[in-house]
Symmetry: C2
Subunit: 408 residues, 2 copies
């Protein structure tokens, strides 16, 4: 953990992926992030995959480096404590509905300059999750093999919950923007971030909305090819599948040399009266001929040889790996400073743990921290943030309003 945000405390009341991720990113840059959950665990506490002992590997990765306060959030007392804590700390990340007890107005009533980030479904309050907003904005009907019949082709969901992760990162950004504004003006902010708007808005920002409106219809199915540029998966003689991309003149020149297809390229250039080095447009327009030429070359060499040639030419390429292969890949994980030693995870299972995606060469990175046990920091947080005495905390524990660590 870098100490960029070590003056910042944040209360997080979250479930699932987007909202916990916003807190995770802040924690990994040094913020004190206090995740507050219902004492039996929130909706995501038992999210697949569980270890044999019932610990969620999903939860313990999305909540790394946070503190945990466990309250009875079905009781008025527990809810009251949470609102008081959020107001005391001054900034809160949540995906609870705006019409819940943790509304911005409720926090603002106790603290005029409150900053809250609320991750929502659709902007109008309708529920949504990653896979449903994805269905709505068009990407699944663009995926899958190029030779599928466009009329009968099924949608292909992306396995990565991309909208959740974009929303989490954007949420962390928008909250820091609101905090920066408060530092300068003294004004708080309510920041609402609908997952659905991240999806349809990204589709627009990517130029896809303008494109389909300009052409008056949908884009053709491209399979694994990159839209608007030269790139696709190829297969070597020994059956290894790999992805290559050439977006710049240098990348293109290197790829032609690595595949040894200079003569074929020259012939196609004569045939079509174009120069493929000129840019994306001729390469994308004639992609079908180019793909055939490159695939033919790939079939005549084993991957090790192709890899060596592409490396020598500085090409942009990557072998497809399964997730298990990736997790065991030294260059990606064991030798990558993004990962640190396994901390004491709640599950007891040891595996590489992430630092922040960003690295700061001039600063100390520190080691990754584990997720907390549920309620592990209940006493500490209530004492430090709300000034409760140990006697008062003991009474709240006895009354069932506060729970302590679920380690045992």
């Amino acid at each position: 953990m870098y100490n960029l945000l070590n003056d910042l405390s944040i209360v997080e009341v979250s479930s699932f992926v987007a909202s916990p991720t916003a807190g995770l990113y802040c924690a990994q840059l040094g913020a004190e992030v206090i995740r507050v959950d219902h004492k039996a665990g929130g909706l995501d506490y038992n999210r697949y995959m569980l270890t044999g002992e019932g610990r969620s590997l999903s939860w313990e990765n999305l909540n790394r480096a946070k503190k945990s306060l466990a309250l009875d959030l079905q009781s008025g007392e527990g809810r009251e404590l949470l609102v008081a804590l959020a107001a005391s700390v001054g900034q809160c990340i949540t995906n609870l509905p705006e019409k819940s007890f943790l509304s911005h107005a409720a926090m603002q009533a106790r603290r005029a300059d409150m900053v809250s980030l609320r991750v929502m479904g659709w902007h109008d309050g309708r529920q949504a999750m990653d896979f449903t907003v994805n269905a709505a904005v068009g990407y699944p009907l663009m995926g899958g093999p190029e030779d599928w019949d466009p009329v009968t082709a099924p949608p292909v969901n992306q396995v990565l919950p991309a909208w959740d992760f974009i929303t989490g990162a954007y949420g962390a950004f928008a909250m820091l923007a609101a905090l920066r504004h408060r530092d300068r003006t003294g004004e708080g902010s309510e920041v609402r971030l609908p997952l659905g708007d991240v999806a349809i808005g990204t589709m627009a920002n990517a130029g896809l909305m303008a494109e389909v409106l300009y052409r008056g219809g949908d884009r053709e199915r491209l399979g694994n090819a990159i839209w608007g540029a030269f790139g696709r998966d190829f297969r070597s003689r020994d059956g290894v599948r790999f992805m290559v991309a050439a977006l710049t003149p240098k990348q293109w020149g290197g790829l032609v040399k690595a595949f040894g297809v200079e003569a074929g390229i020259a012939a196609l250039e004569v045939e079509y009266g174009v120069r493929f080095a000129d840019g994306d447009t001729p390469r994308f327009t004639h992609r079908s001929d180019l793909f055939a030429l490159f695939q033919h070359a790939a079939e005549h060499a084993d991957y090790a040889e192709l890899e060596s040639r592409m490396t020598a030419q500085g090409c942009t390429f990557e072998r497809y790996r399964t997730a298990f292969e990736a997790a065991n890949d030294r260059a990606l994980v064991a030798d990558n400073p993004l990962f640190g030693p396994a901390p004491a995870n709640p599950s007891g299972f040891d595996y590489p743990a992430t630092r922040s995606f960003a690295n700061l060469p001039e600063r100390e990175a520190g080691d990754p921290a584990p997720a907390p046990f549920l309620g592990q920091h209940s006493e500490e947080v209530l004492a430090e943030k709300l000034g409760l005495s140990s006697g008062a905390i003991g009474k709240l524990v006895d009354a069932g309003t506060v729970a302590l660590s679920d380690k045992e």
Copy 2:
């Protein structure tokens, strides 16, 4: 544009998607973002899709609300001006290589507290792009129909360049974190953000790395089903495909009622000795039986009826739309306050334009701004930020070091 960041100026030297997106998000929250390009346009200036007049619809969406300074970046004079400008402004977003003229050290030499964000390929300096890092970390080999033979199934690239968009949002966040640190300590920061680390790190944060290491192998192919929970696409009697998800007890109960499958659920509960309302685990474990039950029910109703029943039960669902359908969907676009009126786009083509994903109910949202013409703000920026006289700027233009608007 909300005015959260209106005290902030940023120099952006970018191409493609991730790095321009970081600047876009800042501009949409009110920052002055000065995109500096080579005078003929950067590597992404003619990125597909182009209008008939040759304007890139990709570029004009990813660079909305920014200013443009066009310099001869192949000349020493142009490069010198850019380094001076970045140091004068104090913060810079770029994806130029660290070993380029725009190194952090070069900017820091002129300004000790410089903050720079550098979007990279892999952490070790190797080139990468969205589709190659995606190939490396495992997702494409998890995608596609469930019934594909796992041994011969091809990779399925996601059409959305998700890693680019996560990196852009995270980069904007990390830069604001570094600026916050400078506000408090006076210290600058070099922030490096490798696209590859965002990919393998997200795979880890999602719990997928822990999962495959824990099980000692890869996850089974799931088709369009949601990992670890209840959710999949179904098809109505009239052939409409839609995605449903039930992660909470309330969502599950509503879905069972909407599909009218209470009896079938009860029978399965007896057969397997489980209660599906208990959580994700029984629903995911027995998903194959549940999917068959729900699909059978879907086949006996038209979509309009299913939609009405799911809406009444507050279910989380969405009909699959093509991108063209989504762009023309009133609820998603025309009636969504995320979008504002078409500004004067460089292309001259009018279409809905995004505001920031985040909305702040208490503040004025303002109207979306257009992308600039290349070089449109060259004179303004050089005069305001570097104090150059109009005579000095005229000489730079005559010498070809500075270019003015390419509007005509």
